[in-house]
Amino acid sequence: MLPFALEKARSTEDAIAAAAAGARYIAGGTTLVDLMREEVERPERLIDINALPLKDIHADGSDLVIGALARMAEVAAHPEVKRLQPVIAEALIEGASPQLRNMASMGGNLLQRCRCPYFRMLDAACNKRAPGSGCSAIDGLNAGNAILGTSASCVATHPSDVAVALVALGATMRVRGPKGERNLAVEELFRLPGDTPHLEHTLLPGELILDIRVPAGPYSRRARYLKVRDRASYEFALVSAAAALHVENGRIRSARLAVGGVGTRPWRLKACEEALAGKPVDRASFEAAARLATQGARPLSHNHYKVELLPRTIVRALEMAGEVA
């Protein structure tokens, strides 16, 4: 690992000042320490933010507010999370391992780097790691890569599970930087790769995620997360789906749907949501909506299977949501 200076933030203002001067935030460190050891990440200054008072999880009316430093395991086990937004807990439990969930913070989960194998392979071209060097995945081992939102520069998926659920539920974040505080939709945090895949998010220099707010919705209780992967646990998604239904008198009044493992960012499917509105809660409605999910999909040499697996996963996730009593 290359040398770096490590400082501890005593206050949020401390932390933001250090970050504005070029330091990188470190919380759980599960992504950053790993990538620093590989010399994929080479920060010269780290600011440890774990002492900041950003761990609280609480209900604000019917909204759920999750501190950015709350650990994945704490959030998944929290009674208010299970009561207000059980799909958040479900998506969290499907991610990583018990050990990593005890370490990784919610803010870090959203900002984690991609798992494309070439990103951490220093002798391979990767536009995300070394802008302008090319993309090894486009003609390489790309079975795990994206089919939606890709560009000629990058085809990496965003690896988070909980981000998929947060995007489906329309969660927002409070972020603070040198110029003050603002709110940002979680969906707007993530950039498409375009020709600048090294720019992954829309935070301004020095901005820190303070907390995440999940608004109450009529579909919050009838929401499920389904993750399809190569083994039953502790593996990244091939395809995943967060599906939420608002059902009245046997019909879908409104739906929320986002998918993971297929997009270069957590992928909201508004066309599918609109197709579900007003339809009966049955397989035919789900299949008709799911067919819209792969519009514009660009499969690579080894991931054509995702074009088939994506609508199937969506149908099953919608069925699971429909079954919630």
Partner: protein
């Protein structure tokens, strides 16, 4: 069998395999080092050391660490607690699992300098004197290992899994022990051991 077992244990001021390897490595390193180290291509920021206090298996320690040192490396190299294993060193295998303030973590993916004041339990802290922790005994009973390299991490993770209440059935144990990989494939014995001890309450 019991009569001959003590003969297998080294007696007296033992020279451990670890010490032999360290000494050998040092000699090899001296042999192969270039006469002068190559100059760094770019100036790097000075790496200040950090002073931290840890309580490990009940014993207090005050340490000076390099910020780059993982908690795993500090346990193994500075505190001479090599029971915690370095497997992948990427957070994927679970061999380095320890309890940090009562919760299981992978010690390879965290910087020791960030844990001033922490309380740690490693595999060395589970037995009470010569009396094995019940889960250690159950691993022997159920053949929950073959080569044994992953075993310290499996057992520490299993202790936490039981304490969390995530070991109610073999299926639950499989899901909640998935952060610990065993390449020998001793999973049936591992799951049986964890399930049995959880069932004892």
């Amino acid at each position: 069998m019991t009569d001959s077992a003590p003969e297998l244990q080294p007696r007296g001021p033992a020279i451990s395999r670890r010490r032999v390897l360290q000494t050998t490595a040092a000699v090899v390193a001296l042999d192969t080092l270039p006469p002068t180290p190559p100059a760094a291509a770019q100036p790097v920021p000075a790496t200040a050391t950090a002073t931290i206090k840890l309580r490990v298996n009940g014993a207090p320690h005050a340490l000076t660490v390099d910020p780059r040192q993982s908690l795993l490396d500090v346990l193994r190299e500075k505190l001479d607690l090599p029971g915690t294993k370095k497997g992948c060193n990427q957070g994927a295998c679970g061999a380095c699992t320890v309890l940090l303030d009562g919760k299981r973590i992978v010690s390879c993916l965290t910087l020791a300098a960030m844990h001033d004041g922490a309380e740690l339990t490693t595999i060395e802290g589970l037995a009470k004197g010569d009396a094995l922790h019940p889960l250690q005994a159950a691993f022997i009973e159920h053949d929950g290992l073959q080569c044994g390299f992953c075993t310290p991490g499996q057992i520490v993770s299993g202790v936490a899994c039981i304490a969390e209440g995530h070991a109610g059935s073999p299926e639950e144990v499989k899901f909640w022990m998935s952060g610990n990989i065993c390449r020998c494939g001793a999973y049936p014995g591992i799951v049986a051991a964890v399930t049995e001890i959880a069932g004892r309450g």
